[in-house]
């Protein structure tokens, strides 16, 4: 199972599912992140710092812990 926090820089992925409880799902929905969306990782912070991602034309910094709840698949 591939999660978003294990994705390297400049890779493009598609969100398959969001794990975690209501609050996490709701928080991600608010930020415009849904299952099925395409995400590209632009940068990842030093020492497992936050991920800087692009989704639907929006730039978001996402903590590792919340990123580890997002199951993704690599888009070829």
């Amino acid at each position: 199972m591939l999660t978003l926090d294990r994705i390297g820089n400049k890779e493009k992925v598609k969100i398959v599912e969001i794990l975690g409880g209501w609050f996490i799902r709701h928080k991600l929905t608010k930020l415009g992140i849904h299952p099925g969306d395409h995400v590209s990782v632009s940068k990842s912070g030093l020492f497992r710092g936050p991920l800087h991602i692009k989704v639907n034309g929006n730039e978001i910094a996402l903590g590792r812990r919340i990123a580890s709840k997002i199951i993704v698949e690599v888009v070829k």
Binding site: I18, W22, F23, R25, H26, K27, T29, K30, L31, G32, H34, P35, G36, K43, G45, L46, F47, R48, G49, P50, H52, N56, G57, N58, A61, G63
Partner: protein, 464 residues
């Protein structure tokens, strides 16, 4: 007539509000809470209306206090027109909120703000088509430049004539369940004064506030039955089903009205590449903070010297002589000390910090230091009140309101009290001067009072 402005955080709502009403706005709190909103009377082409700037909200779900209060206000029945402010460069996310607002069944005007930013990103929006699809007026604005802002509110005043817009339909099976549940909720919807479809969707989304409102056991059973049916049909939790159903039409509408052209690679992107770089970013952070504090203390030192000498050398000895000199100087030097030592550092500090905030650097700092602050159990955002603490502790503690949880606010507020504010730093360095022979401070920061104390320390030594 009451016009409420609703929109997601950073959509430029407050800029629009300040443009038409800022100078006489009154800040109010929602009863019993610390959630604030702005309110002002506005006169536009002969008509007077009350403009309300609601706190920025991402959705109409009650996961945060600000969102809950904004929703309560929108549902209170007082609002005549809602102006939905959307960041045009983030249209998809904005449309999801617009679709929720349509459910309120209050006349709605869609404002595509920050059009200049969208153009820079290469986004071209067909507003007429958007207006046709949603059946609501759509106005493009650039809030910071004041472009078309008056047109927006003129449209809002006419909005009573428009119909309530067209809500995108969800898939058939989801609609069926919403319909089924809404029929059961007739009585509750009248009691709470919430449109029944909105209520049934929110309940399917597991909205805590509305769920607690249900006293009737039978209705609760119906809700959980419908939730279960929905999640079994789609093999996902029911709240995900509803939010996906809202996301899909936003994507479709976006694709219909939007044309993406080649984006300019802006100066900002290039700066970001350096400022958020894993190595250069931290070096830049050190350089920027060093320069920032150096400017603040150099400028502050200069101002302090001027103000103190104005009082001590010019004002007091000129006007008072003899006994009155000793009496007045004792009184005024206390004031001079307060004004002359504290203000020269805090004012440049706050101005400098406001500039860093406005150019967006503080959120980059939050990104860079997120990892470190997580080790303290905090979010990266907590760095903003902490930096503010170097200026003054009081606004720093007030600034902790940007943090989401009570726990984070508590930890950050406690930490900021341990950070020496500008006045304390000057005093510390001054007292340091008493015990330190060299005239140079180890960090190159050398406020005037340091010197001041330094001279006194040498005279103390001479005396001994």
């Amino acid at each position: 007539m009451i016009v409420a402005m609703a929109g997601q955080p950073n959509s430029g709502k407050s800029t629009l509000f300040n443009y038409v009403a800022g100078y006489r706005a009154e800040t109010s709190n929602y009863p019993g809470t610390l959630v604030r909103y702005l309110k002002s009377k506005v006169n536009l082409s002969g008509e007077t209306f009350t403009l309300v700037d609601l706190p920025g909200t991402y959705s109409l779900i009650s996961s945060e206090l600000a969102e809950l209060e904004a929703r309560k206000y929108l549902l209170s029945g007082e609002v005549d027109v809602v102006v939905n402010v959307v960041d045009a460069s983030l249209l998809i996310r904005g449309l999801e909120f617009t679709i929720q607002l349509l459910e309120l069944e209050i006349p709605l005007v869609l404002c595509l703000n920050m059009m200049d930013e969208a153009t820079r990103k290469g986004i071209v929006i067909d507003t007429e088509k958007l207006s046709e699809i949603l059946k609501i007026p759509v106005v493009e604005t650039v809030g910071v430049k004041g472009e078309d802002v008056y047109e927006l509110f003129e449209k809002a005043l006419e909005a009573e004539k428009f119909d309530l817009g067209r809500k995108p339909r969800f898939s058939k099976d989801v609609e069926d369940i919403i319909e089924y549940l809404s029929d059961k909720l007739l009585k509750l919807s009248e009691e709470l004064k919430v449109p029944k479809r909105l209520l049934s969707k929110k309940l399917l989304e597991n909205d805590d506030y509305f769920l607690k409102m249900i006293k009737d056991e039978a209705i609760l059973n119906e809700v959980s039955k419908s939730q279960k049916a929905l999640s079994e049909m789609h093999e996902r939790p029911s709240d995900v089903v509803i939010s996906s159903e809202r996301h899909a039409p936003s994507m479709n509408i976006f694709e219909e009205v939007d044309r993406v052209e080649k984006a300019e690679i802006s100066l900002r992107d290039r700066f970001d590449n350096i400022l958020m770089h894993n190595l250069y970013g931290y070096l830049a952070l050190l350089v920027i903070l060093y320069t920032f504090f150096n400017i603040v203390f150099t400028l502050g030192g200069f101002l302090e010297g001027e103000i103190l000498s104005l009082f001590e050398r010019d004002l007091i000895p000129t006007y008072f002589k003899g006994l009155s000199y000793h009496f007045v100087s004792g009184l005024l030097e206390g004031v001079a000390g307060g004004v002359g030592i504290v203000l020269p550092y805090i004012v440049p500090f706050l101005i400098g910090l406001a500039i860093l905030e406005d150019v967006g650097y503080l959120s980059r700092v939050a990104y860079l230091l997120d990892n470190f602050l997580h080790r303290l159990g905090l979010h990266g955002k907590a760095i903003i009140p902490i930096i503010l603490g170097y200026g003054c502790t009081v606004p720093a503690i007030m600034g902790t309101r940007i943090l989401e949880s009570e726990r984070d606010r508590f930890i950050t507020a406690t930490l900021t009290t341990l950070i020496p504010c500008a006045a304390r730093t000057t005093k510390n360095l001054g007292i340091g001067g008493l015990f330190h022979k060299s005239k140079c401070c180890p960090w190159g920061i050398r406020p005037k009072s340091f010197c001041h104390w330094d001279c006194r320390s040498s005279s103390l030594k001479d005396a001994s």
